[in-house]
């Protein structure tokens, strides 16, 4: 693994362009666009205020910078540096801004979710969408960019509107049978829309593109419900993580549960490999206790022998949003694996084998897992825990890499490059790129031979 030099960054705003050629990062009110290969600065744009949100258009030709405090959005063109566009939402305020999939419209959500304004870069036309719902995930574009599904709230009832993105025409409008809709998400094939209820009630609804209710699923009652939802890239599975610490995987034919993944605190199945991060015992430091090690101790993975009991956190029952339940889940790009994090076992990442529908591996870190993301090209999971290390898991093994550089580079977030060759590591006010060698030149904690297949 090689690392680039460290660049400045603010608000963890660093994005690869969708075509993988550029890297946009924000430093205060400046937007810097670099070439991914050389990391040379290609463009430098200056915005009117501190940038709070940045987003590439789908065709990688425009970048949107939102300054919510000022109710401003500035759009920059990569091809024409002199071209500029400024959208002012005025006294209506601004809380969210995003591109439409065609990269020619900007959707701005005003304060209090009064409306969504659709600004066109091609024409003077401005469209308004009223009654957007203020919820976890109220806007969802289909993968092919044709349709926009929008959660709405009118007269204390939830509705879903489906718009055609090409001309913002309302295609379907139907009421969702939910108490308080929390989120919607298109299946990657764009034919099924999943809508789930607020955490007070376990309910997930599946709607066809034409507004028909395909299925409704409720696992249990009287308890906190859904916490996270993820579609498999093949649209074949819908994984639903809930507050009871389980992931239920629904299939796309009958929309029934095909399996339930519990997250037990003790793992006793010898087939499951448990990678435990362990601090390397620094003999030098022991030899000279007078001088403290300059950096955090290096760590490595050890294969723990089962049964392993994982560190659990007792959630405060009397507080809202308890740290319990499956808060993050993601399918690998090839559909073979599902990575999950149970929030009351914050140090562990579970990796499930979707083909065999069973637990495959568990990674226990030394500190709580901040974020994880799958390599877009192969089953490889990058994990960060807010420390100065980045962890990569693949079916072959697991590796922990110290981010070089002066000072402590605390990796708070990470994102993969499109081709899976590099990884952007973001800390509070810096970022660097991590290049993964395709050849195995790194030490990996290989699995014991009896697990090799």
């Amino acid at each position: 693994m090689n690392f680039s030099e460290v660049f400045k960054l603010s608000s963890q705003l660093c994005k690869f362009s969708p075509d993988g050629k550029y890297l946009a990062s924000c430093v205060q009110y400046r937007l810097v666009v670099r070439d991914v290969d050389t990391l040379q600065i290609l463009q430098l744009y200056t915005c009117l205020d501190q940038i709070q949100h940045v987003e590439w258009s789908a065709d990688s030709r425009f970048i949107l910078c939102a300054m919510y405090k000022r109710g401003l959005v500035q759009v920059w063109s990569l091809e024409q540096p002199e071209w500029h566009c400024k959208i002012d939402e005025g006294s209506a305020g601004l809380v969210a801004s995003c591109w439409s999939p065609d990269g020619r419209h900007v959707l701005n959500t005003t304060e209090f979710h009064l409306r969504i304004t659709v600004w066109s870069l091609c024409t003077k036309s401005v469209s308004y969408i009223k009654y957007p719902k203020a919820c976890q995930q109220g806007i969802s574009f289909s993968r092919d960019g044709r349709y926009l599904a929008l959660a709405e709230r009118r007269d204390c009832k939830d509705y879903v509107s489906i718009f055609v993105c090409s001309d913002w025409q309302l295609l379907r409008h139907f009421d969702a049978d939910t108490q308080d809709l929390a989120g919607i998400e298109w299946a990657p094939n764009g034919c099924v829309l999943a809508a789930w209820d607020t955490c007070l009630e376990y309910k997930i609804l599946l709607y066809s593109l034409d507004g028909r209710l395909l299925s409704a699923y409720c696992a249990y009652e009287w308890s906190l419900g859904i916490k996270s939802v993820a579609w498999s890239p093949s649209s074949q599975f819908l994984a639903v993580g809930s507050y009871d610490g389980k992931v239920r995987v629904l299939n796309h034919v009958t929309w029934k549960v095909i399996t339930e993944f519990g997250h037990p605190a003790t793992i006793s199945d010898p087939k499951i490999v448990v990678y435990k991060e362990a601090e390397k015992s620094l003999q030098r430091a022991l030899g000279r206790p007078a001088c403290p090690p300059p950096r955090a101790a290096e760590s490595k993975y050890e294969i723990a022998s089962v049964p392993v009991s994982l560190q659990t956190v007792k959630p405060a029952a009397d507080r809202a949003n308890p740290r319990v339940g499956v808060g993050a889940l993601a399918f690998s790009s090839d559909n073979y694996f599902l990575a999950t994090r149970n929030d009351n076992v914050p140090n562990a990442v579970w990796i499930w084998d979707i083909q065999k529908l069973r637990l495959f591996a568990v990674l226990e870190q030394l500190s709580p897992v901040r974020a994880f993301q799958w390599d877009p090209q192969q089953p490889r999971l990058a994990i960060c825990t807010g420390g100065s290390k980045v962890y990569v898991w693949s079916p072959a093994g697991c590796v922990s890499v110290q981010v070089p550089g002066e000072g402590d580079f605390q990796v708070l977030s990470l994102c993969w490059h499109l081709n899976g060759d590099s990884l952007a590591l973001l800390s509070k006010d810096h970022f660097c790129l991590c290049f993964l060698e395709t050849e195995a030149g790194v030490h990996t904690a290989f699995r014991p031979p009896d697990h090799c297949t």
């Binding site: 005025g90 025409q169 308080d180 007070l200 009287w222 093949s234 074949q236 090839d334």
Partner: protein, 614 residues
């Protein structure tokens, strides 16, 4: 009269004493009982008469005594002591004979009584002991009864307590249930309350929002604007179109097209999956037929009737179906036919496997019975040791021969020395001869041992055969497991791959799985054994056994298989004929290899054969 009584009493007691004395005597000699009796009675009587009757009868009162005795005796039913008098006036005469008779009778009676008494006494003793025993028993039982009663009471008490507890628990449960119900009700009411409140709040919020909207939006906020240097073209290069009914219809059309496409795609996937499953089913059926038919040829001879006929039916069936290749039709009848036939065959296979299982278990039992079979490892070790010894002996012979030759050569050179050495030579010769004989004996022993080992080898072969049978059954089972597993597996795989979009790539892997697995499992089980066996005794009948499955396969396989088959069968025949010969052959490493490669080759050939199966 009172005096009389006392007197008689003492008299009687003394008499009884006497009698007991003499009875003890009689007991000593029971044979001469009567005569002694008479004698004894006469002698002691005469001695004791005086003392005896001193109290009762004196000179003066003889008459009275006699009359008294007469009276007494008559009352007891004895004949009178007096002679029958003719007249009443005449004095009664004492009849001695009668007296004696009476006495004798009395004595006999007395003896009887004594015996009876003894009996009664013993009985009494017995009864007394019985009584004691019974009393003991009674006491014990009573105790037992008491304890059990106590126990019962205790148990009853416990039962009562438990019931009490149970009742309490029931009550608690009920209470808890009530509580739960209550809490649920509370939750529900809270939820409704919450929802109600939420709705109220939301309404207010909406009102506020509306108001805000009016305030903010209707003010003609000059600030709300977009500054653009120049408008850019659309991504698709087209110009924006007006919203019309037409466009709406077009959108609808497009949507339905997308949905339709999706459904078509899914249908295609499902069809493919179906076809794949059908193929698997078909293959399974074929394999089942091929698996069942060669084995059931034999049972059919055993006139095992129904299964055989059924199989032949299905063979025909299969042929028909194959010919018509109507698998693609998802026609109801075909489906039914297929599933039915598969089901039936499955049943047959199951029964067959069960039979095999039984066989195996039988073989197992037999195998465990004869314990004098040498384990293969021991056998190998032993042979190795022997071979080493032989080698050493050979070397010794060679060196000795060399020495001899050297000595002979030197002897030819020099006559004098030879003469001098002659004696030594002779001595040495003698020694050599001795050694030679010893050697021969050793050789003989070796031969013997070798023979015993060949015997053992034959026995091993038998064992091997049993093992082969077991292995076959195991393989069968494995195969069954595999087929079911693979079936499922492929199903899973299909399901997975069908919708993941790379089905074309997945197909071969799914297919290859059963193929790969089969040789693998075979190689897992047998080559290790065969190689071991080849080293130790390649001539054993096991190799022929081993070849059997291949020869079965070769019925419908390529020419290559046929080419090698005769060679091996010949080898096997030779092996059966003379184990000894085989032994020597086996000791050469070349032949081992040949055999082994032959074995491995059979695997590959079978593998290839498997591949040919559609």
């Amino acid at each position: 009269m009172g005096d009389w009584m006392t007197i008689t009493d003492t008299g009687l007691s003394s008499e009884s004493k006497n009698i007991s004395q003499y009875t003890s005597e009689t007991k000593m000699s029971p044979s001469s009982l009567y005569s002694q009796q008479v004698l004894c009675s006469s002698i002691p009587l005469s001695k004791n008469v005086h003392s005896f009757f001193s109290a009762f009868c004196t000179e003066e009162n003889i008459e009275q005594s006699i009359s008294y005795l007469d009276q007494e005796l008559t009352t007891f039913g004895f004949p009178s002591l007096y002679e029958e008098s003719k007249g009443k006036e005449t004095k009664k005469e004492l009849n001695i004979v009668a007296v004696l008779n009476c006495m004798n009778e009395l004595l006999v009676l007395q003896r009887k009584n004594l015996l009876a008494q003894e009996n009664v006494e013993t009985q009494n003793l017995k009864l007394g002991s019985d009584m004691d025993h019974l009393q003991n028993c009674y006491a014990k039982l009573k105790e037992q009864l008491e304890t059990s009663r106590r126990e019962m009471i205790g148990l009853q008490e416990r039962d009562r307590q438990l019931q009490c507890k149970n009742r309490n628990l029931h009550q608690l449960l009920k209470n808890e249930k009530d509580e739960v119900q209550k809490l649920q009700n509370i939750i529900a009411s809270r939820a409704t309350q919450y929802n109600h409140d939420m709705k109220r709040k939301e309404r207010e919020y909406n009102k506020l929002k509306e108001r805000l909207h009016q305030l903010v939006m209707n003010k003609k906020d000059k600030k709300i604007a977009m500054e653009v240097l120049n408008y850019v073209g659309r991504a698709d290069g087209k110009r924006g179109s007006w919203r019309t009914g037409k466009s709406e219809a077009r959108n609808e059309d497009e949507m339905y097209k997308i949905l339709l496409n999706d459904y078509e795609y899914r249908q295609k996937q499902i069809l493919m999956e179906n076809a794949e499953l059908k193929k698997v089913l078909q293959q399974m059926k074929k394999e089942m037929i091929s698996l069942l038919s060669p084995q059931n040829q034999k049972p059919r001879e055993r006139a095992d009737d129904s299964t055989g006929t059924v199989i032949s039916d299905f063979e025909e069936d299969a042929g028909e179906l194959n010919r018509e290749s109507m698998w693609d039709l998802s026609c109801e009848t075909v489906r039914e036919q297929l599933t039915n036939s598969i089901r039936k065959q499955w049943r047959i296979l199951k029964s067959h496997v069960e039979k095999l299982d039984n066989q195996v278990s039988k073989v197992h039992l037999e195998g465990f019975n004869d314990e004098d079979v040498i384990s293969r490892q021991d056998h190998e070790q032993e042979t190795e040791k022997l071979e080493l010894e032989i080698q050493q002996c050979k070397e010794m012979i060679k060196t000795q021969q060399q020495l001899l030759q050297q000595q002979l050569a030197t002897a030819c050179d020099d006559d004098t020395t030879s003469l001098l050495r002659d004696c030594y030579l002779l001595e040495e010769k003698e020694r050599l001869k001795e050694e030679w004989s010893l050697f021969k004996e050793q050789k003989k022993n070796f031969e013997k041992e070798r023979r015993s080992f060949t015997e053992a080898a034959i026995r091993l072969g038998m064992e091997r055969k049993a093992f082969e049978e077991e292995r076959a059954s195991w393989l069968k089972q494995q195969f069954l497991n595999m087929t079911t597993f693979d079936h499922q597996n492929s199903e899973n795989g299909r399901l997975f791959s069908a919708f993941s979009g790379n089905s074309d790539q997945d197909n071969p892997t799914v297919h290859s799985r059963p193929r790969q697995k089969k040789p693998h499992t075979m190689s897992n089980g047998s080559p290790v054994c065969t190689s071991k066996l080849a080293k130790s005794l390649p001539a054993s009948p096991s190799t022929s056994d081993f070849c059997q499955p291949r020869s079965c396969v070769s019925e419908h396989s390529s020419v290559n298989v046929l080419n090698i088959a005769p060679e091996e069968t010949k080898l096997n025949q030779v092996g059966r004929e003379s184990a000894n010969q085989k032994w020597s052959m086996a000791s050469r490493p070349g032949s081992q290899e040949g055999c082994y490669s032959g074995c491995s080759w059979t695997y590959t050939s079978s593998h290839v054969e498997k591949d040919d199966l559609p």
